[in-house]
Symmetry: C2
């Protein structure tokens, strides 16, 4: 079993820098499309055999040091009772957005084995398949990020309706966030119990918030999740990724995570200085930089590895999900480069 | 004539903190819709009487300390020969994107009085109307931002094609940027000569770039524009706004601008520390925070004013354009609040 990723999460010495990619089980792989052609996106999430198959693909094809469960953060809102559709070329749509007290009241805090049992089934299946291979990462969306989808009814440009609720109906917003938070605690705990060996919390839209709003309307809920998991006996490394969150890092360092994920907008050594000791960093190559020819990709990967030395543990990753347009061989090239260059050092 | 804005740009003492809002001549005003109903968006930009009328509206209705010319950054690509359409509810579309050498060759570096004369006509008309009122700001897009529209053919989520050209055809990218840069120098110079009393360069998508890419592919061109303007005798204050650019600020400070604009993601005092002496700051209320009830808006405005004291001159603004959904009376409330609170201090 390759434990390099888990060691790096804990800040322990490793022989080389481990690497995985957000969305590594995804549309850039022809093998993914083969499976996908048999299911809708949501059905694929809900079919443990399919989720398992695509989760394993990048481990074998690309050589990453960790597998991340194929799923979507929005299975949580759906399990809470929010209708969810994935519309081709448009992304997620929640046709009954949550915008008032009645909407919040309708939501449940589900038993994860009941409403999200397919995720735990996939995790158990994956652990059997991954024996002697790499660790398995489970995940969930952060409450703020999930709330934006539930309030806006899908993706958003300005998060106007979310901020409107925050600013003009803070109590209503708080009750919605409480329900999402409780659900997420139970869900991540169930993932760990099913066998997930690390857990990542994706705060994809945290970067839309001013520092003062992040402090009031987003961070406390993530803190509560992490505290509840640690107090509840979850011992696997916890990773928190606040996308576009460079100016929130001084707050993120207090969240209780073992690892903080970073997008490509900040240099890793600057981030390490802000975050301070005891927290590992994960990141942060621009996903588009996988287009670079090898001779130009190498100095860029080398620079990130060099900057990563300032951190208490570094897991190489992209700064965002890998894009469907990236040739798989370029991803493989990057993974080999990370391994080779970090070993040499 | 209210010169508070111009004094703050130069870091001179003012009786109160001046304030204006990006997109202040825009869709949140019913009076704007009245004019807009008679023209298409692009025709309104090209009709000096219409552009003048809507530019003046927020000066009288909202009480801002500066007028900014009603126009669009994409009139520059269009003047260079790129076809441009504004599609209702979809935004700008450039149906013939620039993606190869032939595409770059087809672009011209136009004489601004020839191809963009309507802008200079509006500026001259506005200066007559604004006598004894407030200063007039002219503007242009930064080369990187305009290049993204020209390469992608419109707005973009990941700027994949732009980065692809940067990474795989850097010479082609450079030739495109050179042409945009030359055009922008002539255009801004012509605006100053026509009477613009300050010039803002909008780098709306700079925040999509990693610091190393910004240094190589965006910043040098803005530097060239500002140097050419200053060497060419343009003496009006120059404002540079790199949106979502908190991690680029240490580079932005070297661009040569008198003022740096900031979005709401960074605290002004943190920005002032990075930027250092001699540069004024402009910003940075979250546009959605205009939804706050007065008693909650006030402490937030007060905090920004307090943080702004750390800067060598502060111009209050939103961190991005005002949104169409904002009630005009809320904008007016904010402007009065800025004036009242900063006078008291």
């Amino acid at each position: 079993m390759n434990t390099t990723f888990l060691k790096a999460c804990r800040g322990e010495p490793t022989d080389y820098t481990p690497v995985w990619m957000m969305r590594q089980a995804g549309r850039y792989l022809p093998e993914y499309h083969t499976v996908r052609s048999r299911y809708s996106f949501l059905d694929m999430c809900k079919t443990p055999e399919a989720a398992t198959e695509v989760t394993l693909q990048p481990v074998d094809l690309i050589g990453v040091d960790a597998a991340i469960l194929f799923s979507d953060i929005l299975v949580v809102p759906e399990a809470m009772g929010a209708a969810l559709e994935f519309v081709e070329n448009r992304g997620p749509v929640l046709p009954e957005p949550v915008r008032d007290q009645a909407g919040v009241d309708r939501l449940i805090v589900p038993d994860p084995e009941d409403k999200l049992g397919y995720v735990m089934a996939a995790i158990r299946m994956l652990r059997r398949e991954l024996v002697n291979k790499v660790p398995l990462i489970g995940f969930a969306g952060a409450p703020f990020t999930n709330a934006t989808y539930m309030i806006e009814g899908g993706s958003s440009k300005n998060f106007f309706l979310t901020k409107k609720m925050m600013y003009t109906e803070p109590d209503l917003y708080g009750r919605l966030m409480d329900k999402i938070t409780e659900t997420t605690i139970l869900y991540l705990k169930a993932q760990a119990e099913a066998g997930a060996q690390a857990l990542q919390i994706f705060d994809s839209w945290a970067g839309a918030l001013a520092p003062c709003d992040y402090a009031e309307f987003a961070l406390p809920y993530v803190k509560r999740i992490i505290a509840a998991l640690k107090e509840g006996g979850v011992e696997v490394p916890l990773i928190y990724f606040a996308n576009n969150g460079a100016t929130l890092l001084d707050q993120c360092r207090t969240v209780g995570a073992d690892v903080l994920g970073l997008d490509w907008r900040i240099n890793l050594d600057d981030a390490a200085r802000i975050v301070g000791p005891g927290i590992a960093l994960q990141g942060n190559l621009d996903p588009c930089a996988l287009l670079l020819p090898a001779e130009k990709m190498e100095p860029r990967v080398a620079r990130i590895l060099e900057q990563g030395k300032a951190a208490h543990g570094h897991i190489f990753n992209l700064g965002h999900g890998i894009l469907p347009e990236i040739p798989p061989e370029q991803a493989k090239l990057m993974v080999e480069m990370v391994h080779r260059l970090s070993r040499k050092n």
